[in-house]
C-alpha cells in the first residue's frame, strides 16, 4: 500500500498550490444548527468556532449524535447553518449562489462516506469519473485518463471495469477515495471512512489518507470513533452534545 502511494503517477495534486500551507481554508464562526421538526427542536451544533488550515489532517471525535456528521455537511456546503458564518478561503458562503456553491463543492471538496455511496450501476471507473462530469469543458478522454490515474494511485488499477458489488468493503472505500481525489480537491471530508471496515482494511484506508495528506498536501477533516486513528492525525477536535469540548 505504502509503496503504491510512493509511486510516481501521471496524476498530480494541483489544488494545494492555490494557497500557502498553514493559511485558513475553512473558518466556522459561532455556528449553530437547529433541526426543527413538527414535534421537537434538536440543537445539533451549538456555538462552534473552528478553523481548518491548509494542509492539516484534523480528526473529529465524539459520541454518537453529538453533531459530527452535521458539522461535516456544513463544511461540505451541503447544508446551511441556522446561525453563524462559514468562510471558504476567507469568503463567506452566504454570498454564493446555489450554482456557485455546487461549483465550489466540485472544485475544492472531496467527500468520503462511511457507507461509500458508490453508484452500483456504474463501473468503478465510471464512479470515479463522477465529479469530473460536473466540471464544464472537460473532454471524455481527459476524464477517463484522470480516473484511471487516481485508481492506480489507490491500488485499484486492475479493477477499473468491475462493479461495486464485485469488490470488498475496503476496495469500495478505496474507489470512493479515488472518486474524491479525481477532482483534485483541496479538502477531503471523510465521515467515518473506516466505520464499516475491519481493523486491517481500516488501517489500509488510514494509511492511504495519511499518504495523501503528507505527500500531496491534501487538507483532510475526518470523523472517527477510533482513538488510535485520531492519534495519527495532527489535531483532534472533540465534540459533546453539539459543542466543542477540546
Amino acid at each position: 500500500m505504502e509503496n503504491l502511494l510512493a509511486n510516481p503517477t501521471s496524476y498530480s495534486q494541483a489544488a494545494p498550490l492555490a494557497g500557502a500551507a498553514g493559511t485558513p481554508v475553512l473558518r466556522l464562526t459561532n455556528i449553530e444548527k437547529v433541526y426543527q421538526t413538527s414535534t421537537i427542536e434538536t440543537v445539533a451544533l451549538n456555538q462552534v468556532n473552528l478553523v481548518i488550515n491548509r494542509g492539516e489532517f484534523v480528526s473529529i471525535m465524539g459520541p454518537s449524535g453529538c453533531g459530527k456528521s452535521t458539522l461535516l455537511s456544513l463544511m461540505g456546503l451541503l447544508d446551511e447553518p441556522t446561525r453563524g458564518t462559514i468562510e471558504v478561503d476567507g469568503r463567506p458562503v452566504q454570498s454564493y449562489s446555489d450554482r456557485e456553491l455546487a461549483g465550489l463543492r466540485n472544485l475544492k471538496i472531496g467527500f468520503v462516506f462511511q457507507s461509500y455511496h458508490l453508484i452500483n450501476d456504474l463501473s468503478v471507473v465510471d464512479n470515479v469519473e463522477l465529479p469530473l462530469l460536473y466540471r464544464p469543458g472537460m473532454s471524455g478522454k481527459d476524464r477517463r485518463q484522470r480516473a484511471l490515474a487516481v485508481l492506480d494511485k489507490v491500488g485499484l488499477g486492475a479493477r477499473t471495469g468491475h462493479f461495486p458489488s464485485q469488490l470488498s468493503g475496503g476496495q469500495r472505500q478505496r474507489v470512493a477515495i479515488a472518486r474524491a481525489l479525481a477532482g483534485a480537491p483541496e479538502i477531503i471530508l471523510a465521515d467515518e471512512p473506516t466505520g464499516n471496515l475491519d481493523s486491517v482494511m481500516g488501517e489500509e484506508i488510514m494509511d492511504l489518507l495519511l499518504g495523501l495528506n503528507r505527500q500531496d498536501g491534501v487538507t483532510i477533516v475526518m470523523v472517527t470513533h477510533d482513538e488510535q486513528q485520531a492519534l495519527k492525525t495532527e489535531r483532534v477536535i472533540r465534540f459533546f452534545d453539539g459543542s466543542q469540548v477540546g
Partner: protein
C-alpha cells in the same frame, strides 16, 4: 453527460426493460391510431368526385313476386322528369352512393390486372345526375346503340391500372377471367374517363369504378329500379310526395321510396366513424394507463435513488442539474422504446402493407414519436422536480 446517461440506462437495462417495453407499446398503439386517423382525415379532405347535394334516390319496387317491364318503367321516369323542380332522372343499379350495397369485379387489359373494382349500371343521364367530372372522352349515349361491345366509362384510378399513361378511350377490356369466347356485352369499350369517386362514405378512400351502359331497349324485367333524381335547390318533402304520387299514377301496384342522398351520406358517416372513434378511445385509455404507470415507476425510482442524488449534489451537481438528469434519463429510455417501435412501424411502408402510400405511415411514426416524447416528458417532469428538491445532506445521511 449524455454519454453518462446512456451508460447509466444501459447498465440498468434490466430495470429499464419494463419502462422501455411500455413506451414501445404506447408508441405502437399511437402509431396505429395515427395511421387510421391520418388516413381517415386525408380521405375526408379528398373530393368525392361527384355532387351529392340536391340528389335523391328513388326506389321503385314491383311488389311481391312481380316484375316491371322496362317500357313501363321508362314511362314512369318520363313523368317524374317532367315534374317542375326535377332536373334529371337517371336509372342505375342498387349500389347508389352511401348505401351498404356493393357490386364488384376484377378486370384485365392485355395482361394488366385491375384491383377490385366497383361495377355500376348507369343510363345515359347518369353523368348529369351525379355531376361526375369527365376527364377524357365522353359519357355514353344513343350513338352507342349499335355498339358491338358494352360501352363503359371508367374512373381515373381504374384507367391508371389498366392503361397506365397510354390511351384509354376506344380500348376494349374484359373481366379478369373472360372465358374462352366472351360475349360482346362482356367486352367493355371505354367511352370516357372520370375523376376518382368516393361513394362508400366521407371517410373512405376512392375506389376504382366502372359504369356499364344500361341499354334503353333492354327487355329484362325488373323487380326493383333505382333512380337518381337531381332536383332544383330548395326542393323538399312536397316534391317527394309528388314523385310518389306520379309513380302511383302510372301503376298502383308499384311502391316507391324517396330518400335524400345527403341523408344517406350523414347516416353512413356515423357508421364509419364509430370504429375510428372506438379505436381512438381505447388507444387514449391505454396511453393514460401507461402514463400513470410511468409516473408511479419514476416516483419509485427517485425514492430508491435518494442517496445517489445526495452524492451527485456533493460532487457538484446543482438541484436543477439533478432535475434535468432525471428528465434526460427518461428521454434516453424513451429513445430506446421509440427506436424499437419505429423499427417495427417502418416495416409497413417498406413492405407496402395494406396498399397505402408511405406518407400516412411516416406521418404517424413522426406523430407517435412526438406524442410519446411529450407524454414521457410530462410524466417525468414532476418526479424530476421532486428529485431536484431533495436536500443533499438529508439524502446522504439515510441508509
Amino acid at each position: 453527460m449524455l454519454r453518462h446517461l446512456f451508460t447509466l440506462i444501459w447498465n440498468r437495462k434490466r430495470a429499464n426493460l419494463l419502462l422501455i417495453s411500455e413506451i414501445f407499446f404506447s408508441f405502437v398503439v399511437l402509431f396505429v391510431v395515427g395511421v387510421v386517423l391520418i388516413t381517415t382525415a386525408e380521405n375526408y379532405l379528398t373530393p368525392h368526385g361527384f355532387n351529392y347535394n340536391e340528389v335523391w334516390r328513388l326506389q321503385v319496387r314491383a311488389g311481391q313476386g312481380l316484375k316491371m317491364p322496362r317500357a313501363e318503367l321508362d314511362e314512369v321516369l318520363r313523368h317524374v322528369k317532367a315534374l317542375p323542380g326535377v332536373r334529371t332522372v337517371a336509372l342505375t343499379s342498387g349500389n347508389v352512393p352511401f348505401v351498404f350495397s356493393t357490386n364488384n369485379s376484377e378486370f384485365s387489359y392485355q395482361g394488366k390486372k385491375s384491383p377490385v373494382t366497383n361495377v355500376y349500371d348507369a343510363d345515359d343521364h347518369y353523368l348529369e345526375a351525379m355531376q361526375l367530372h369527365l376527364r377524357e372522352g365522353r359519357w355514353f349515349g344513343p350513338a352507342e346503340d349499335g355498339s358491338n361491345h358494352r360501352p363503359v366509362v371508367i374512373s381515373q384510378d381504374l384507367r391508371q391500372s389498366l392503361f397506365g399513361n397510354g390511351p384509354a378511350v376506344g380500348k376494349v377490356f374484359t373481366y379478369l377471367n373472360p372465358g374462352k369466347d366472351p360475349k360482346p356485352e362482356h367486352q367493355f369499350l371505354v367511352m370516357g374517363v372520370v375523376d376518382n369517386v368516393r361513394m362508400s362514405s366521407d371517410f373512405n378512400a376512392a375506389e376504382p369504378s366502372v359504369w356499364n351502359r344500361l341499354i334503353p331497349f333492354d327487355t329484362t324485367h325488373w323487380e326493383t329500379a333505382n333512380v337518381l333524381v337531381r332536383v332544383a335547390p330548395g326542393e323538399g318533402g312536397a316534391l317527394q310526395e309528388k314523385i310518389a304520387r306520379t309513380v302511383a299514377g302510372v301503376t298502383r301496384q308499384w311502391t316507391t321510396e324517396v330518400r335524400v342522398v345527403n341523408d344517406d351520406r350523414l347516416n353512413r358517416r356515423r357508421y364509419t366513424l364509430v370504429p375510428v372513434v372506438g379505436l381512438s378511445i381505447v388507444g387514449l385509455f391505454l396511453i393514460i394507463n401507461v402514463a400513470l404507470g410511468l409516473f408511479g415507476v419514476l416516483w419509485y425510482n427517485i425514492s430508491q435513488r435518494r442517496a445517489e442524488i445526495g452524492l451527485r449534489r456533493a460532487m457538484g451537481a446543482t438541484g436543477a442539474g439533478i432535475g434535468w438528469q432525471f428528465l434526460g434519463e427518461m428521454m434516453v429510455v424513451t429513445t430506446f422504446g421509440v427506436s424499437l417501435g419505429s423499427l417495427l412501424a417502418a416495416q409497413f411502408p417498406l413492405l407496402n402493407a395494406f396498399d397505402l402510400p408511405a406518407h400516412p405511415y411516416l406521418l404517424a411514426i413522426g406523430g407517435a414519436a412526438g406524442a410519446v416524447y411529450l407524454i414521457t416528458a410530462l410524466c417525468a417532469w414532476q418526479p424530476s422536480q421532486l428529485a431536484a428538491g431533495i436536500q443533499p445532506a438529508v439524502a446522504l445521511r439515510e441508509e
